[in-house]
């Protein structure tokens, strides 16, 4: 085992981590915003909105992210009408396509998590808030949102970790993330296992930190569920 090679490989992989993390962070935030919109449509009670939200979730959760990514990056770029339009400068960049595609996909999953969390808010709480004369906005801010958020956290943390793993797919649309650097080193040096193992270790540690962070947040937000100190 060549220690020098290990260090060099590891440093090169770490240098690609910022790209992986920025794709992750931007797509998760943008996806969260889209998901909020989709969830709002889903529970709005307006039939066409509801139908759209259902279809959105079904399409983005029912097809592989890889093919969605290719529709956006290779598919949209091949349409002459789109190449002539004002969004072309945005979509020409692989990074933007990656963020957009990952965001659209995670929005489908996040919308279902948000919906489940909203449904878990006990009806009595809503009735009590109404009885106190809260406006709809105040009721959402003070009662529904905090309770729903706590319900959503475990599933949300799983989705965040799943998104870190999904960012590896951007290596297939010419971006130099941790995954593609590992493949390039493997290709150049013909060392099979080491680059992939080191890349795996980086992903694993990132996921571990995110998971631990969400667990700490969950603990902090639900002091009333902890056992009483004896």
């Amino acid at each position: 085992m060549d220690f020098d090679f290990i260090t060099k490989t590891f440093v090169r992989l770490l240098a690609a981590l910022p790209l992986t993390l920025s794709v992750w962070f931007l797509s998760v935030v943008l996806g969260g915003l889209i998901a909020a919109g989709v969830t709002w449509m889903r529970v709005s009670g307006v039939k066409p909105f509801e139908f759209f939200a259902r279809a959105y979730v079904m399409v983005f959760r029912g097809t592989p992210l890889l093919i969605q990514l290719f529709v956006v990056y290779y598919g949209l770029a091949s349409l002459p009408a789109l190449r002539a339009s004002f969004i072309w400068p945005f979509l020409r960049d692989a990074f933007n396509c990656a963020v957009l595609s990952l965001a659209l996909c995670t929005a489908g999953y996040q919308a279902e998590i948000f919906r489940g969390a909203l449904l878990a808010v006990p009806h009595g709480q809503v009735e009590a808030a109404r009885a106190c004369g809260m406006s709809r906005l105040l009721m959402f801010r003070r009662i529904i949102f905090p309770i729903a958020m706590r319900h959503a956290l475990p599933a949300y943390s799983t989705e965040m970790i799943s998104m870190v793993k999904s960012t590896a797919l951007v290596s297939l649309i010419t971006l130099w993330d941790v995954m593609s650097i590992a493949l390039k080193i493997r290709n150049d040096t013909l060392v099979t296992y080491l680059p992939l193992i080191l890349a795996g270790a980086i992903y694993f540690v990132v996921n571990y930190i995110i998971g631990a962070g969400f667990l700490a947040l969950e603990r902090r937000l639900s002091p009333h569920l902890r056992p009483r100190p004896s």
């Binding site: 029912g62 093919i67 349409l79 992939l196 795996g200 694993f204 996921n207």
Partner: protein, 238 residues
Amino acid sequence: MGDLAIFGFGQGGWGLALLQGAAMTLLVSACGLVIGSAIGGLVAWARLSGKLLAGGVGQAYAALFRGLPELLIVYFVYFGTSTLLTETAHALGHEGFVGVPSFAAGALAVGVISGAYQAEVFRAAYLAISRGELEAAVSVGMNRALLFRRIIAPQVLRFALPGLGNLWQVALKDSSLISVTGLTELMRISQVGAGSTHRPFAFYLGGAALYLVMTIATTRFFDVAEARATRGMRRAMG
């Protein structure tokens, strides 16, 4: 050629190729799910055994393969098994590179991933069996094999069905990653079609539509199976 004619079955149409790709996707995902069941069953058994070492290994397996990117696992299994096979062949006096068939490597990769999740499903299903039934079986003198066959297996399968249905969908979608090894499943055929007709938008959208159809149709199948498996049960809701 018209927009729809490229998906047709006539001269120059890609309809048949896409359907063959879809069939390959179903086949490799199904093999992956079965391999995953074997792995998942073993890992769940290790974790439930109460033995420190076996439990630790089971937990480590589940944590590891749920924390790594699926694409990385696909590459690792494909390159890893090929390198292993090549080195074994060299040791036996064979020259040159020996590749593992991409179908086998792909099914194994999907299985390795699915197994980590299935272990949790099986473990939860086992824990959902009421203690009283296990005690009753022991008290009427069933040996371990009979206890497993008559009491544990039927109920674990029943409780695990909803989770397995979800994991089937995941396996179906993960199988698209096998396209990087060159297996001509639906994703790969869509790429080939996109490349040779210069119509990536139509082909990737068409491929996505086929995936959606497969997901919806097979989910119906699992719903029916679940309704059948639980027809004798009373439930709290629904």
